[in-house]
């Protein structure tokens, strides 16, 4: 049985929906970050698969930039999360409503 591009796209979709469910049902901000990583990784799989089946390197380039963005997002996000946790002593989304009008 030959593994085609559709197999990879379906796998990427399944992982993406797992990440989306995680983003929607998590209340803890750290868990929300984990779900975001899952989303970015599923897109990376799709990029690499399209790059392979088209014989084009551009998909891999985009995957590299996605990885770079994910790394910097983690650094800034965790820094902000630590500051928030120092001040309010929790990282739940429900308490993050200081901008509520």
């Amino acid at each position: 049985m030959e593994i085609g591009l559709n197999h990879y796209l379906v796998l990427s979709t399944i992982l993406f929906s797992i990440g989306l469910v995680g983003v929607m049902r998590r209340k803890n901000l750290l868990m929300l970050f984990f779900a975001t990583e899952i989303l970015l990784n599923s897109v990376n799989i799709a990029f690499a698969a399209i790059s392979h089946y088209y014989g084009d390197l551009t998909g891999q380039m985009f995957a590299f930039f996605v990885i770079a963005i994910a790394a910097s997002e983690v650094a800034v996000g965790l820094g902000l999360l630590i500051v928030w946790h120092k001040r309010y002593n929790n990282i739940d989304l429900d308490y993050l409503n200081t901008m509520k009008g």
Partner: protein, 191 residues
């Protein structure tokens, strides 16, 4: 044949690991499952012939990002059970499925149209060499911008997470440093 076996094995493992990450109530289980899932994803990159991308995935994700998360978790109370949002389950699942189908349509639209010509064909040289050539010719400016972005992220991480980073010892006079030290000593009782 072997490709199919490897694909299905790693697909099952990745989905299982990410499912654990999304559903578990223990933060440490989620972290470990996520790290395992990242390693399994790099297997797909090796199957697809993107060797350099697979190596970068292992080094950056399972190395740097996971280490950052585990350092960050030292600041939080991770032994406590994670509370969940009590929303309508069907709405969440339905929205996620609709969004995922949309993503498939977005990705498959150019494939169905079948009009794309490979701009940078994968040649005979090794994957790493090809990636290097494309990265340092066509994508040189985005590469440099990404480097500056990582630098900014690193500095902001240090400033946000570090203590007393708003004060610079080299720019302060001797008296101010002495005052700061005294203040720190009196604060230690509170900490």
């Amino acid at each position: 044949m072997f490709e199919a076996i490897a694909f299905y094995l790693f697909a099952f493992l990745t989905i299982a690991m990410f499912y654990i990450t999304v559903t578990t109530s223990q933060a440490l289980y989620a972290l470990t499952a996520l790290a395992a899932g990242m390693i399994f994803i790099s297997a797909f990159f090796f199957i697809l012939g993107a060797d350099f991308l697979g190596a970068v995935q292992i080094v950056v994700y399972s190395g740097a990002v996971m280490a950052l998360y585990s350092f960050g978790m030292m600041f939080f109370d991770t032994t406590r059970e994670v509370k969940e949002k009590q929303g309508n389950k069907y709405i969440v699942v339905g929205l996620a499925t609709v969004a995922a189908v949309l993503v498939v349509l977005i990705f498959s639209a150019p494939i169905l149209s079948d009009n794309i010509i490979a701009l940078y064909p994968i040649g005979e040289a090794g994957n790493t060499q090809e990636v290097g050539v494309v990265l340092f010719t066509k994508y040189l400016v985005p590469f440099e911008v990404a480097a500056i972005m990582l630098l900014v992220a690193m500095i902001s991480g240090i400033v946000l997470a570090g203590k007393k980073m708003d004060a610079s010892l080299t720019l302060m006079t001797e008296k101010e440093i002495q005052d700061m030290r005294k203040e720190k000593k009196s604060k230690k009782a509170l900490l």
